[in-house]
């Protein structure tokens, strides 16, 4: 199984909004509303920020939002802040009941 496809890097200035895409197939992203997103700060363990496409766990800023269209999911970050500089990974359930991560996107705040 190949990883879901994410852009290697996305950047934006403080206060701007950015979007990170996560391209899958009809065997994963396209089949279920079970896309999640994780933020990994440098040298730290990942943290769940979005689950089931567009749900935020308690304590996660509402500047993070998720969506899905067809085989592609997206993470939007509004009001970009320096603390958002991190690696972001998407994940999806697959039709073989395994879990697939994306290739990861480095978000840089200019």
């Amino acid at each position: 199984q190949s990883a879901l496809t994410q852009p290697a890097s996305v950047s934006g200035s403080p206060g701007q909004s950015i979007t990170v895409s996560c391209a899958g197939t009809s065997n994963d992203v396209g089949s279920f509303d079970y896309v999640s997103w994780y933020q990994q700060l440098p040298g730290k363990a990942p943290r769940l920020i979005i689950y089931d496409v567009n749900n935020r766990p308690s304590g996660v800023s509402n500047r993070f939002s998720g969506s899905k269209s067809g085989n592609t999911a997206s993470l939007a970050i509004s009001g970009l802040q320096s603390e958002d500089e991190a690696d972001y990974y998407c994940s999806s359930l697959t039709t073989t009941t395994t879990l697939l991560f994306g290739t990861g996107t480095k978000v840089t705040v200019l």
Binding site: P46, L48, D52
Partner: protein, 118 residues
């Protein structure tokens, strides 16, 4: 507070065996799946395996099945990941994860660094 406390860094030789651990704190251990995610140096995340402490049901990724064994001891709220014969390519950081449904991971351990080198 939910915590997943992992065992420390390991340095092993190719062909050796290894068992790393993850102790769950601050939640009802048998209500959640627990498992492992691998991250090689400078690379992305890879899901490896999950186990349910309630009934020991296990799930493996295709690439992990047959190479590692996941297990759990609910009496000590601890999950394990075991190798019988390590390879240099097993060198990575291994994160313990908790999952309510096998679909996403809502808690992560601090990571256990495994280095396999002759």
């Amino acid at each position: 507070e939910v915590q997943l406390a992992q065992s420390g860094a390991e340095l092993k030789k190719p062909g050796e065996s290894l068992k790393i651990s993850c102790k769950g704190h601050g939640y009802k251990f048998t209500n959640y799946w627990i498992g492992w995610v691998r991250q090689m140096s400078g690379k992305g995340l890879e899901w490896m395996a999950l186990v349910h402490p309630g009934d020991s049901d296990t799930r493996y990724s295709p690439s992990s099945e047959g190479h590692v064994t996941i297990s759990v001891d609910k009496s000590i709220t601890t999950a394990f990941l075991q190798w019988r014969s390590l390879k240099a390519s097993d060198t990575a950081m291994y994160f313990c994860v908790r999952s309510p449904t096998t679909i996403y991971f809502d808690a992560w351990g601090q990571g256990s660094l495994v280095t396999v080198s002759s």
